[in-house]
């Protein structure tokens, strides 16, 4: 009877040790998993890009085919955005917003070719004048990785982002 009690006690001790060991392994595995998911998870990465910055600067100085006062006083994109916010009409009879849309769409599409099989998957353009959105354009896929820049010209802000 005494011997049986001793044997049972020994078995119980071994079982307890095994449970403890398993618990430690589970805890360590959970810690490793948490660490791995934190370190490998890629947040929404946005990089400030010098190339995009130079693009916005050059784009804003582009002479558009719209004159409000007299020929050949053609407006640059910065002024055209301002005129578009006031819904002005060009001397040619075209709406300034229409000229702005046409010009920006062609210039951006010819500068940043986007597509599924291209390095750049999409882009988004946004311009605000005195805090009010004047013109925005988006094309292609919006992915998690992007490079972008913003330029401020007094009351005018231009944002451009390229997704890759």
């Amino acid at each position: 009877m005494e011997e049986m009690k001793f044997k049972m006690n020994k078995n119980k001790k071994a079982q307890e040790e095994m449970i403890g060991f398993t618990l430690i392994i589970i805890i360590v595995a959970v810690i490793i998993l948490v660490f791995l998911t934190i370190s490998l998870r890629k947040p929404n990465q946005e990089v400030e890009s010098y190339e995009v910055e130079s693009f916005i600067q050059a784009l804003s100085q582009y002479t558009a085919n719209c004159s409000i006062t007299y020929y050949p006083d053609y407006l640059d994109i910065k002024d055209l955005i301002k005129q578009c916010s006031e819904e002005r009409i060009c001397l040619s009879g075209k709406d300034s917003c229409e000229v702005l849309k046409e010009t920006l769409t062609n210039l951006i599409n010819n500068s940043w070719q986007v597509g599924e099989d291209r390095p750049n998957k999409g882009y988004s353009f946004n311009s605000t004048y005195q805090g009010i959105e004047v013109f925005s354009l988006e094309q292609g896929n919006i992915t998690l990785n992007s490079k972008g820049a913003a330029q401020n010209f007094q009351d005018l802000d231009i944002y451009f982002k390229v997704y890759f």
């Binding site: 010098y50 130079s54 010819n110 500068s111």
Partner: protein, 177 residues
């Protein structure tokens, strides 16, 4: 019997120690490879940034920049009239910029798919698509930045400023600079 039990205990501890060492070694290796890959990424980014800065530096040099010729100080602006004139005297500069190719490509404001490539010369200026400033053989990798390409235009006898969008491209192999 007691000896055997002790041996078992020692064996158990030894196995545990080996497992712990292997685990830490693997974790260390993972960390090192992770750090190295991010270092490589950083180096690539720095190289790219340096190249972009070099292109901008060349585009902003007095030989190309607009200065105040187009109404106020313009940034990232290349004077097209000045550049086409410079092309004719480019031999004087020799290897001044330390690059193998320097080119300006105009970006059109219309849908262009298969528009013909026309190199700018004095004869066809400004009705052309690109201007090769250096005519040496292209060596190395291409780097580019966007610039505003400005020139003086004539409208019924009145001169006005016309700025377009263009890409300023340089090629260098690294050993030139």
């Amino acid at each position: 019997m007691k000896n055997k039990k002790a041996q078992m205990k020692i064996q158990q501890t030894a196995f545990m120690l080996i497992a712990v060492v292997i685990f830490f070694a693997l974790a260390g290796m993972f960390m090192v490879s992770f750090k190295l890959s991010s270092l490589k990424e950083d180096a690539n980014l720095l190289n790219e940034r340096n190249a972009l800065l070099l292109v901008t530096k060349i585009a902003e040099s007095p030989e190309f920049s607009c200065g105040e010729a187009f109404g106020g100080k313009k940034v990232n602006c290349v004077d097209f009239d000045k550049t086409i004139a410079l092309k004719n005297n480019i031999d004087i500069y020799g290897n001044f910029w330390g690059v193998s190719n320097m080119e300006i490509r105009r970006i059109n404001n219309f849908e262009q798919e298969d528009s013909p490539e026309i190199e700018c010369t004095f004869g066809n200026y400004p009705d052309c698509t690109h201007l090769r400033i250096l005519s040496s053989q292209v060596v190395g990798s291409d780097h580019s930045t966007f610039v505003s390409l400005c020139r003086k235009e004539n409208y019924q006898g009145e001169i006005y400023n016309k700025c377009e969008l263009a890409k300023f491209i340089i090629s260098y192999g690294g050993d030139e600079i």
